[in-house]
């Protein structure tokens, strides 16, 4: 992925490639938290970002390669003023744009509420920008959040 055309310097970015399985969630969150803590991210923002990262990574782990397995490439960093955190998730699984999923109706009563469907909605609500592209056989989901 080329970040230079978005005004971000590539050398700000760190990345990991990790098997997409939910057991690896703590490792993914450590990777993210290390970057956020190094950039004095407020606690509340860190929690929102952690939630977004969890929802996206778990979706990839559960669905992208189902019933097989595969890896996720995660690239993240902070740049600009005010500092903005950017993270992208790339997988080579089934093409799927989670942003096209209809938002759940959060006004439904308890009995009408389906269990589930909230993850990506929480990401959209709490992050500043969420983008999806399918490129070179990869699903690439990128989120932005000002710290």
């Amino acid at each position: 992925m080329n970040y230079s055309d978005r005004g971000l310097r590539k050398d700000n970015m760190k990345n990991i490639t990790i098997e997409a399985k939910t057991d690896n969630l703590p490792e993914v969150l450590s990777f993210v938290d290390e970057i956020l803590e190094a950039n004095d991210c407020p606690m509340k923002t860190q929690m929102q970002i952690d939630i977004a990262v969890e929802e996206i990574f778990v979706n990839i782990a559960n669905y992208a390669y189902s019933p097989g397995s595969g890896s996720a490439e995660i690239e993240a960093g902070v740049s600009g003023e005010p500092p903005e955190f950017v993270i992208s998730f790339a997988d080579r699984g089934i093409p799927y744009n989670p942003l096209k999923k209809a938002d759940p109706d959060v006004t439904l009563s308890l009995e009408e509420r389906p269990i589930g469907g909230l993850g990506i909605f929480m990401v959209k609500k709490s992050m500043d920008k969420v983008e999806y592209e399918y490129k070179d056989g990869q699903n690439i989901l990128t989120i932005h959040k000002t710290l």
């Binding site: 606690m43 006004t107 509420r113 993850g119």
Partner: protein, 99 residues
């Protein structure tokens, strides 16, 4: 990490959750509630030490609330600001009884 402590007195049960209720830990709480909920008429979830909740955690609370609607009542109390905001955004503030 999630620590689950509970106090059971007769048909009343209070859970004290500490740490993170996420994809990794939610199954632990779900299993515990399933085992303990039979015969419970008053379920209290004390979240004073719960720092983090993702959709996996919300699902467990929703499922517990649905069960308790059939056999009694459930109250969620001492919710931290960060967690409360998640309840607001997702509409859970309207379907849970929060004290």
């Amino acid at each position: 990490m999630l620590n689950i402590n509970k106090e059971k007195k007769g048909t009343a049960c209070t859970y004290f959750l500490e740490g993170r209720l996420d994809t990794t830990t939610a199954p632990q709480l779900e299993g515990d509630i399933k085992e303990s909920i039979e015969g419970v008429e008053s379920l209290v979830m004390d979240l004073s030490k719960l720092e983090y909740i993702s959709s996996a955690g919300l699902r467990v609370l929703l499922s517990a609330q649905k069960t308790m609607n059939k056999q009694g009542s459930m109250v969620v109390r001492n919710v931290r600001d960060e967690v409360n905001e998640i309840f607001d955004v997702t509409g859970f503030a309207d379907i849970l009884t929060i004290e």
